[in-house]
């Protein structure tokens, strides 16, 4: 998976609780991305980063925030998890915007 790890790999949480997912890379790539994957919707971009402390919103950013304090780590936070955020979350990295390498994914269930 191109030097990308995600943690945790699986998580079950209750509605209203905060959740943080971590993406860690060892490739020193500039760009990092968070996607969610749902049946019928494919992969949708939540947020992305184009450098340390430089982030921007994607297609489905409501209810999510991100932080990137160093090149290798990109955190995705659900401030107050809802059942609609049950999904599989993928982190991706890249040096150019179109060539992205994905991590193994985190399966999040919000009950």
């Amino acid at each position: 998976d191109a030097g990308i790890t995600q943690s945790p790999r699986h998580k079950v949480t209750e509605t209203g609780t905060p959740v943080t997912l971590r993406c860690h890379q060892t490739e020193n790539h500039r760009y990092m991305y968070w996607y969610r994957q749902d049946p019928g919707h494919g992969l949708r971009l939540i947020h992305y980063s184009y450098g340390v402390k430089d982030t921007d919103k994607g297609e489905v950013s409501d209810g999510y925030s991100v932080s990137r304090s160093k090149t290798e780590d990109f955190l995705l936070t659900l401030e107050s998890a809802t059942s609609s955020q049950t999904s599989v979350y993928f982190c991706a990295i890249g040096q150019q915007g179109w060539e992205q390498y994905f991590g193994p994914g985190t399966r999040l269930t919000v009950t």
């Binding site: 998976d1 991305y33 019928g40 494919g42 992969l43 949708r44 971009l45 992305y48 921007d56 994607g58 297609e59 993928f90 991706a92 915007g97 179109w98 060539e99 992205q100 390498y101 994905f102 991590g103 193994p104 994914g105």
Partner: protein
Amino acid sequence: GESVGLHLPTLSVQEGDNSIINCAYSNSASDYFIWYKQESGKGPQFIIDIRSNMDKRQGQRVTVLLNKTVKHLSLQIAATQPGDSAVYFCAEFLEETSGSRLTFGEGTQLTVNP
């Protein structure tokens, strides 16, 4: 809105045959088109890309064709193997002053029969 989609949700082929997976796109301004492969329980894997000013690009056992006239993208897999069984996504990349975007299609499930 702009979208990337696939003609067929499933494709079943015999081992050794050639596979062709199709994709229709609507944004003629896209800069790159990319194919990804996703095996069950794993993240998408980059296969091959093609720049919008090209018609064809070949990789190892794969060829991507881009027909800008009809806004059509295809992925050809030669001598399909059981390990090629996966979901294949096309994606289009657009770089704008407001930021770049990679938009994925829904995916095609390729099943290779022995």
